[in-house]
């Protein structure tokens, strides 16, 4: 039998309450895309290049989206369909939502997905997930335009400094995420092999693109291919 709180969590009224937020995400993406598509050519960005950008992003989104869906399964069993769907399509991310829901349940003396989970504990999880994510959207709503000014100030009008700032943000941010998956060091770790395989392929790909700057497949699919090579090599390590 379905747990009682999950009947509430999966009720029609919960679905109805979650739809507007997801529609807002789609609406914003649509009007931004429309405006950008009209503005690009006026700035000298040809339609063909914009189409290339759209196509490569479309292909690159599929893999990570499936990862999010697979992460959603655990959330689905814990907080029901509507809330999982809204939290992952709207502001949240898999890495953040499940621990938050778990923490709220814990403070109520309950455990997610078990019969000691009460409706009040579920509501506490829903509220904590909501309040916890407000910062992202409020900060982006109020300060995005100021970041442009801040960036220009830091870079002092030098395009090379802007590029260095971008590279630095990428190196620092992603080196930390890679470190999280490779430490403690274990030579048989599937994560480690996935990281190494993708790294080697990406180095080769970058060198290849330098020699063949017009290689379209490398520009459009290179990063996606690298992701799947990493996954495949990591999977072999899983089986050994």
């Amino acid at each position: 039998m379905q747990l009682e709180y999950l009947t509430t969590a999966n009720s029609m009224i919960m679905w109805i309450a979650c739809i507007p937020a997801v529609l807002l995400v789609l609406f914003q993406a649509f009007i931004f895309l429309k405006r950008t598509w009209a503005t690009g050519p006026r700035m000298g960005v040809p339609v063909e290049k914009m189409k290339e950008a759209a196509k490569s992003s479309l292909i690159a989104s599929i893999g990570p989206s499936i990862v999010v869906v697979s992460g959603m399964f655990s959330l689905l069993a814990s907080v029901g369909g509507p809330l999982s769907w809204m939290r992952l399509a709207y502001i949240g991310s898999v890495m953040y939502e499940l621990p938050t829901a778990e923490r709220a349940a814990m403070f109520c003396g309950s455990t997610l997905g078990t019969d000691n989970m009460t409706e009040a504990a579920f509501a506490t999880a829903a509220w904590l997930m909501t309040i916890g994510c407000l910062g992202w959207i409020i900060i982006s709503a109020l300060f995005t335009d100021k970041m442009e000014v801040l960036r220009d100030k830091i870079a002092g009008g030098s395009m090379d400094a802007v590029a260095a700032l971008t590279a630095g943000g990428g190196i620092g941010g992603f080196a930390y995420m890679v470190a999280m998956r490779c430490i403690p060091f274990n030579p048989m770790s599937s994560n480690l092999w996935a990281v190494l395989a993708s790294a080697v392929f990406t180095v080769w790909l970058n060198l290849y693109m330098k020699k063949n700057p017009t290689a379209k497949w490398a520009q459009q699919f290179g990063m996606t291919i690298s992701m799947f090579i990493g996954m495949a090599v990591g999977a072999i390590a899983l089986f050994i």
């Binding site: 919960m14 109805i16 937020a21 995400v25 789609l26 914003q28 649509f30 895309l33 503005t39 006026r42 700035m43 490569s56 992003s57 479309l58 690159a60 990570p64 499936i66 999010v68 869906v69 697979s70 992460g71 502001i91 898999v94 003396g109 009040a120 509501a123 506490t124 829903a126 509220w127 904590l128 309040i131 916890g132 910062g135 959207i137 900060i139 982006s140 335009d145 030098s158 700032l165 971008t166 630095g168 943000g169 190196i171 620092g172 941010g173 080196a175 995420m177 890679v178 470190a179 430490i183 403690p184 790294a199 990406t202 180095v203 990063m223 992701m227 990493g230 990591g234 999977a235 899983l238």
Partner: protein, 228 residues
Amino acid sequence: MENKTNVFRGEYLPWIIKTGRATNLLGVLLCFGPCLALALMGVWPNWTALSAAMIVQLPGNLVTQIREPISYFTVLGVPGTYMAFLSGNISNMRVPCASIATKSAGYVEGSDEGTITATIGIAVSTFVSTIILTIGVILGSWLLSILPPIVTQILNLLLPALFSTLLINYGMMRPKLFFIWTPVCFILYYFYIIGTWGYGTLATAAIPIISAFGAMGLGVVGSKKGWF
């Protein structure tokens, strides 16, 4: 052709900022939809537990919420930042898609043209992920029962592979910075997990902040001094 800076800074960005701010503030209200629905059904949270959980949860969140927009801003651009923080899944989807879209069109990340392609990339990835998530949530329980657990384990390897790909891509933009800073991040994280700095919120928050801002600072200083 019109003056591209005028088009971008004079027309496009002001419109994006006005619309982005309005939609994201509306998003703050819509966030409470599920809470409102539960209240209508007479289901309220345990307020004491909620307050206690908030005290533990919010400081860590806030640190991430300040760090992420600043460190990803240069890749996402102004329109992309509004969209990415409304739709979520920033580091695992929006940043990679912005970067891939801009690279595939052959523009420099952070430039005005790069902002156009990044915006297209993020909008497209938002459509794709929302569609896949919606299908996933509908078929979810059924899929859950037929997929062997090894499939999920294998799919989870996509993320480390993606992060490694992005790290190398950014690293190859500034190789010296990469070789100096990546070991620093690894050492910082190693000392964190062996407990050198304790496990408190402060240590948890400090490491990613030092990793990201340290690299950005060193990058800008290095560029100005001509090191890299």
